[in-house]
Point group: C2
Chain length 397, copies 2
């Protein structure tokens, strides 16, 4: 019993955390419940139920499978479902008619052949990346409807009536979903993507902001910083989620293409540009990942050498951090970033001054081996500065 | 018309490429067609059709949505669908009975309330990562079935009969899918994951193998290598797909958990270990990505310095390449890698000899700035060697 109690407490705290992390999850669940109860009421309105009959259940079915977290995903699925049902229904009626010409013996064979052919072809089409991205669900529904319609043992007039009913109920269900997802606390995939890009930029900026202090801290204040190590470590780890953000971004961009004009975004906003920027940010994140391993590295450069490069390095990383967070806020407010270029220029200057330092700083008796890691750090920082430049260019577009 | 013709040719060549890249795609499509035609025949077997009636369509529906590319995914979906239908059906009958106690006026309200409550709760549960990974589809079907059953206007006895029919047809459909996916050219998610890990290792090994030649080529044979540049570039780019392999690997691991014992794999093979190894390989790929940017870098170290580190660097990268491809083939054959450790030890030795070289090699008048990139390259290679060590350890487990 105690074990059960412990588990219950665990689940409760997890639920609270899930809800707190993103309250829109709770809102989404409530919206789903709302949409379903609304569509269920159709069963109790005699005039509607009478005209649709058993097909009413397709409205319920549609709501359950079409309703998604973002507006774009809901619209895409609803559109796919409606179109596919219509197309496949028409084809199915045709196939059914053709097969019935073959007589009672031949019918199953002809139908089986048609189903086999179309199902195979449609399944294969799902491997095309373009179709997979936008019409995957539609193809599924196409196969489904085509088999159901062509196989069902009804006469053609009966089928046409059924198809009409089913299409109307599916459209009714889709419209309910679309309305609720647009008008009740909408979650726009485009906005999500937009924010995601800004957040990712900020995460990297956070890292760069903290990196200087973290890497050179050992001689700065060895005692003090041990206390807040845990907090600091946490924000130094945040960038890791950027490394694997590709799939999520691509999905959001796909959904966003379905969305009408909303907020600051018009229909057919250049979502591809976001993917490009996202890719550049990931490039930067890979460098950061390489950089990160040097914080924990055991072989540290001799302090006197570190001290020489310290100022320039800290300047480089903090200026690029400023540039990146400037870019992030420019994305958020959708304005041209005005001072980002200044910061990038500053970090370039720091990089150049570092180069001159390096030319002169090397004492004759230095062990090159010992400064390897420090030199690598500076090289990676220079790389990151140019990444930041690329990102800035991409954002300007 | 010409435009259309051009498009047609484009699509045809694309289709050929898709089929050639992975012939299992064609097989999968044919299997899908086969499963559907088989289940469609049920409509024409009078004894089965008579006992199931209109519910037969649920068998077709099940086949379309349950049939997936890998055995694991099919099994998982089939299991989810069956279990969810059973549970939700039982609950739905209960809810329907309770609601009918409320009288004709109260019924819609009580039902609406139940549907709202369960749909919201179930939708929210889909945000738990554990449920999302394994039972996402089940929860969807749960909501679907519960709403359909509790809302439908039938009497309880009629519902029980319907529920029974539907469950049987769904089980029939699922079994068809499972049988065809297991016995006709099966694609095991576990094997996919296994091969994916090996392929990823090989991709990185390829890069490391080629890196030495590519980076130091400028002075080796400037004229000759320009010819096969394109081919070489291609295999130097192959590792890029490793960077974003996380989602695919996690999905495969999820599917693999559903699979029974097959080939060299038993049920509940330690798939988690694969994910861990995959993560380490990605760590290594991030370093490779950082390394790759130096091949194209404009600032190259002075040739005499490069020459000094050349042997050790090439040794390091080719020995780690050998170790990695050794590990890859060990994974493929599921044996203990015997010589991988030797190669790793060799690359360690090379790294150490490089260190001593560096201690002495630095001419007094060297411009540190110029050798920065070369030094960084060596540092990254050292990192990669230790990554390779971690991977080796992980594979041993």
């Amino acid at each position: 019993l105690n074990k059960f109690k412990g588990k219950l407490i665990g689940v409760t705290s997890k639920t609270k955390k899930l809800g707190k992390d993103d309250p829109r999850r709770i809102i989404h669940s409530v919206k789903m419940g709302l949409a379903l109860s609304l569509i269920s009421l159709v069963y109790y309105f005699r005039p509607i139920y009478d005209s649709f009959g058993v097909s009413t259940m397709w409205a319920v079915l549609t709501v359950v499978v079409v309703f998604e977290f973002t507006v774009g995903a809901t619209l895409g699925k609803g559109f796919n479902r409606g179109m596919a049902t219509f197309l496949a229904g028409a084809l199915g009626v045709g196939a059914h008619h053709l097969a019935s010409l073959a007589g009672e013996q031949g019918e199953p064979i002809v139908i089986g052949f048609f189903v086999f052919l179309l199902a195979s072809a449609a399944s294969f089409s799902r491997f095309y990346p373009e179709i997979k991205a936008r019409y995957d669900y539609g193809v599924l529904i196409f196969i489904l409807t085509f088999s159901l319609v062509s196989v069902s043992g009804y006469r053609v007039e009966k089928i046409v009536q059924l198809a009409h009913q089913r299409l109307s109920t599916i459209i009714l269900g889709s419209l309910t979903c679309v309305f609720i997802s647009i008008f009740v606390c909408p979650v726009w995939a485009g906005e999500e993507l937009h924010n995601q890009i800004a957040v990712n930029l900020e995460k990297i900026a956070d890292f760069l902001e903290g990196f200087g202090g973290e890497y050179f801290q050992t001689e700065l204040s060895n005692g003090e910083s041990a206390l807040d190590t845990k907090d600091e470590k946490l924000f130094l780890e945040r960038y890791k989620s950027v490394l694997n953000s590709k799939t999520a971004e691509e999905n959001l961009a796909n959904f966003a293409q379905w969305e009408p004009c909303h907020g600051h975004f018009r229909y057919q906003h250049p979502w591809k540009q976001y993917l490009k920027t996202g890719g550049l940010i990931r490039q930067c994140a890979y460098r950061v990942e390489a950089l990160n391993s040097y914080i924990k590295s055991e072989i540290q450069a001799p302090p006197e050498f570190k001290k020489k490069i310290q100022d320039a390095c800290i300047k480089m990383s903090s200026e690029s951090a400023k540039a990146l967070s400037e870019l992030a806020s420019a994305i958020r407010t959708m304005t041209q970033p005005c001072t980002a270029n200044v910061h990038i220029a500053n970090s370039r200057i720091a990089a150049n001054s570092l180069k001159t330092t390096l030319k002169t700083a090397l004492p004759m008796d230095t062990d090159l081996l010992q400064i390897i890691s420090a030199v690598t750090v500076t090289a990676l920082l220079v790389e990151i500065v140019s990444c930041a430049e690329n990102i800035a260019e991409s954002v300007h577009e």
